[in-house]
Subunit: 341 residues, 2 copies
């Protein structure tokens, strides 16, 4: 029996779902950064062979799902549920990606936290006995996001130093009730946290308080501390949000700097790639998880990782109406050994 304490935000799974396979897809710029060569599929063409960027993003989700199924040595038809999301209005990249695929479909939206949200629900579906295999998938595309949220690319808008660069990337994880691992033993679901930030070019500041609260809840719910994990990987706070997170824990007398990294800082080199505060987008943490974190866990580098994806909950309309930007963060513990957590 899985356990969730009343009032707590976390679940300890009795049958930790197994990460049976995973895959990542990335664009040219992403493959020129620190994770060069780590992605399963890369296109040097921002259109991925399609005739619009939106169709490219749909292609990316189809491709990453196909590759993840292959990695898990399963067929798409054997997946009981897919949990998918993206940043586009009405999550359309995901919906169109799965329209040719005969898999029961749940659309999810958690902004850039979507990979952790979909992994959480996909894990509950397996542990709960509702599924043998599930998929968690999400994507983002620099060009679809820029023109939807900011300016047409042709405009050549200036970017502020605190702004982040939306990743052209996708990630997919296949969970299974059996197998060798890694495993998902625990999850902590986020509460929306509005810190009053209104600068749409500083998402890191908007999301850091949510990351701090979810991680704190996780440590409290499991009576543990940050040192329990080999790695705490947030995404995508970028360098400003990541600094803020370290400072927030510092106020509690906890130094998490040695074991805390951020997907937005891992995907791009902020010095060499002109991405300012770092990467962002649902596809950033999803692709870093699948191209780097899970690969390194399989190779034995890390045993226990806490993946805490963060999202900024805004729209162009909410910003125009002077709303502040609430953040959310969901944390998913990943362990290379069953029963280690």
């Amino acid at each position: 029996m899985s356990v969730k304490k009343a009032g707590a935000q976390s679940v300890q799974f009795s049958n930790p779902p197994v990460i049976a396979g995973f895959a990542s897809v990335a664009g040219k710029k992403e493959n020129e950064g620190p994770l060069r060569g780590c992605f399963d599929y890369v296109s040097d063409d921002s259109y991925f062979g399609e005739n619009t960027w939106e169709k490219a993003e749909t292609f990316m989700q189809k491709k990453v799902f196909e590759l993840a199924c292959a990695s898990a040595k399963t067929e798409a038809a054997k997946i009981d549920y897919v949990f998918a999301g993206d940043l586009l209005n009405q999550c359309i990249a995901s919906a169109l990606a799965f329209r040719e695929c005969r898999v029961p479909y749940f659309g999810v939206y958690g902004a850039c936290s979507t990979m952790a949200e979909s992994l959480t629900l996909a894990a509950m579906a397996v542990d709960g006995g509702y599924a043998s295999k599930t998929a968690a998938v999400c994507s983002s595309h620099f060009c679809t996001a820029e023109r939807q949220f900011r300016f047409p690319l042709e405009y050549g808008g200036q970017r502020t130093p605190s702004s982040q660069w939306t990743a052209t990337a996708a990630g997919c994880v296949i969970l299974s009730e059996g197998g060798e691992g890694p495993f998902i033993p625990r999850v902590t679901t986020g509460i929306i946290r509005d810190a009053g930030v209104t600068d749409v070019n500083n998402m890191g500041a908007a999301m850091a308080p949510a990351a701090y609260e979810t991680l704190s809840a996780h440590f409290e719910d499991f009576s543990t501390d940050p040192d329990y994990y080999d790695l705490i990987v947030t995404g995508d706070l970028g360098k400003i949000g990541h600094r803020a997170l370290i400072d927030l824990f510092g106020d509690d007398g906890l130094d998490i700097s040695a074991r805390s990294i951020d997907c937005g800082m891992l995907l791009f080199s902020s010095e060499k790639q002109d991405v300012h505060a770092g990467g962002s987008g649902c596809g950033c943490s999803a692709s870093v998880l699948c191209a780097y974190i899970l690969r390194e866990m399989r190779s034995g580098r890390w045993k226990n990782v806490l993946f805490a994806a963060t999202g900024a909950l805004l729209s162009t309309t909410s910003s125009a109406q002077k709303e502040s930007i609430p953040g959310i963060c969901h944390a998913v513990a990943i362990s290379s050994e069953r029963g280690a957590l």
Copy 2:
């Protein structure tokens, strides 16, 4: 142990979650239709006292959640998870509604099928032991939807006969692990179905094939037929989509017309209210479920109901790029007696 057969789309819950409370919120026009007087909160002001329609929609979700908690005789703080969604870009009405509420939050998106999607996930969370109480909530607002998807209201655009009227309404259901019922014993999760429809003013035609497939899967998975239910309530096919659904079952030799009704046809009087093919929007099926179906079930009118909400998966961008409109439908069985289904 809950059961999902391999390859099947359905789950039979071993501990059917209880519908502990529910509430509905509606606008003026909705309260002038056939369900006049059935809503828990009505505003004659399309702004609901706020200064934008988007803020009004956020208010509606906050209000309906508050009323549903009161109906379930619980406090918001006792809800373990909320599953919320709406039609606005980045599901922003939901996110802003729950930013002051300290409840773990899952954003979901299934277009007008969102109420059934959120109910399904909320039911799995309770049956799976991850939660004692969960909330499923969604909303739509005619004015926010019109200006986002179609034209500024001031433009006074003509509507085609097949078009539907987005409901200004919200619904919320609180599920609990214990109580008197009604219960949710079974769910069938939809597969995306693209029938090739491209007319954005004929959502009913785009969604009817998805409704047919999900209902057929439900009957097959449980080796039953439409007569098993007192009522099969789709939403929101409108009168064109509903006719198409009856015809699709007719081709199989099944006449579902006597027990099949549609939320889009229940919420408005298409003769008297100039809504053309009927109502639509996440809030349509959500409010009809909470204002009418569940109330009548509690009064003993119906014992077993199959609630099958339908969604059209499109965006203004996908339509501009000549994509067809896939549909999705999720079915949730509701029974007034534990163990009846």
